[in-house]
Amino acid sequence: MKLMIKSAPKLMMFILAAIIITSSTTSCKSKKKLAREKAAAEYAMKVDQAKKDLTAMLNGTTPWSLDEQDKRLEVIKSYNIDDPAVVDLISQVASKLSIDRAEAERLAEEERLRLIEEEKLKAAASKYQGIDDQLGAIATAQSVDGANSQINITLQQFATPDIPVLIIISKAGGYNDYDRPTTISKFLNYLKDKQSYQYKVEAVKRDGLGKITELELIKK
C-alpha cells in the first residue's frame, strides 16, 4: 500500500506524459489531415472554376476581352491541372482564342483600311467639290443663255474643249464599266439639255498649267 502511495506521483506523471504524447500525436495527425483535405478542396475548387471559365470562353459567353481571356488561360495552365477534361478544354480554348485573335486582327485591319478609304473619299470629295458645283450650276441654269455663260466659264478650266470625259456607270465586281466616252464640250451641253447633274467627279488629270486634261465622273 505504502509502495503504491510512494509511486503514485510517478504513475501520475507517466499517465500525464502518455496523455500529452498521445494527444499531441493525434493533434498533429489531424492537422495534416485537415491540411490535406483543405488542399484537396482548394484544388477541386480550382478545377471546378477552371472548367467553368474555360467552358465560358469556349462558348463565347464570357464578358472578358481577348487579352483578359489569354491571361486567364495562362493562369489556368500554370495550375498544371491533370484533369483530362480541363486539359482538353485548355487545348480547345487555346485554339479558339488563336482563331478569335486572327479574326480580331483581320477586322481591325479591315476597319483601318475602311477609315483610310473614307478619309481618301472625304479628301477627294472636297477636292473636286468646286468642279461638281460648276457642273451642277450648268444643269440648273434658269435659261439657255445662263447655261451657255456657265459653260464658257467652266471650259476655261480645261485644256481644250475636246478633252475626254469618262463616265463610270458601275464599279461592280471590280470592273469599271463606262458609258461611251465624250468630250467636255459635248458633256457640258448635255448637262444644259438634260437640266440635271447626276454625277460626281471621281478623278481629274491636269497639265503643267493646271488645266484639266481628263475628267472621270461616276454616275450617282
Binding site: 439657255v144 456607270i169 458601275s170 470592273y175 469599271n176 464599266d177 466616252p181 439639255d193
Partner: protein, 192 residues
C-alpha cells in the same frame, strides 16, 4: 523551249479569261447597262422635246439634232403616224425626222414621253451584242397662233436598243465601255 510555249499558253488563257470575265455580266453590272440604255432613251425624249419646241433657237436645235443623231445606229428609221391618216405610217431617216420635227407647222409644240420601260430585256446575241426593246408613250400637242390646241395624239412606240462592249485608248489607258445605240423606232398604236 517547251516550257516557254507552256508559259505563253498560260498567259494567253489568263488574258482570254480576263477579257471574257469583263464581257460576262453579273446581275449588278447588267442592271447598270439596262439603266444606261433607258437613260439614252430618256436623253432622246429630252432632245425631241427641245427640237420640237418653237422656243428653241435655231442654232441650239441644230446642235441638239447632232447630239440626237449620235444616239442612233446609221440607217435607223423613225415612224410617224397621224390621227388624220390612221392607216399610214411614214418612216423617216433620223436626220430627216428631226429636221421635220423642227419645222412642224404649229405655233407651239409640246412633246412629252412617259412610261419608258423595257418591253423585252436586253438579251445577249451570238456576236456579243445585247439587244432589247424599250416601249415609250409619246403625247404630242400642237397649238395655233391663238394658243388653241389644234392637234393632239398619244403614240405608243417601240425602240430597238443595241448595246455592245467596246474598247478605246484614252490617255494611254484602255477603256472598256458600253456603247448604246438606238435602232428603228416603230409606231405600235396611235390614239387621241
Amino acid at each position: 523551249m517547251k516550257l516557254s510555249y507552256l508559259w505563253l499558253l498560260i498567259i494567253a488563257l489568263g488574258f482570254s479569261f480576263s477579257v471574257s470575265a469583263q464581257d460576262e455580266l453579273s446581275s449588278e453590272r447588267k442592271q447598270a447597262v439596262d439603266s444606261l440604255a433607258l437613260e439614252k432613251v430618256r436623253d432622246l425624249s429630252k432632245y425631241i422635246s427641245i427640237i420640237g419646241s418653237k422656243e428653241t433657237p435655231w442654232s441650239e436645235a441644230n446642235r441638239v439634232i447632232d447630239r440626237a443623231e449620235e444616239l442612233f445606229m446609221t440607217d435607223s428609221e423613225i415612224g410617224v403616224s397621224s390621227l388624220n391618216n390612221p392607216d399610214k405610217i411614214n418612216y423617216y431617216n433620223i436626220r430627216k425626222y428631226f429636221e421635220r420635227l423642227m419645222r412642224l407647222n404649229y405655233k407651239k409644240v409640246e412633246i412629252e414621253w412617259y412610261n419608258i420601260e423595257y418591253m423585252s430585256d436586253l438579251q445577249k446575241q451570238p456576236d456579243g451584242t445585247y439587244v432589247g426593246v424599250i416601249t415609250i408613250f409619246q403625247k404630242f400637242k400642237g397649238y395655233d397662233a391663238e394658243g388653241r390646241l389644234v392637234y393632239q395624239d398619244t403614240t405608243k412606240k417601240d425602240i430597238t436598243v443595241y448595246v455592245k462592249r467596246k474598247e478605246t485608248q484614252i490617255g494611254g489607258r484602255l477603256i472598256g465601255f458600253w456603247d448604246v445605240l438606238l435602232g428603228d423606232m416603230r409606231v405600235k398604236e396611235t390614239t387621241k
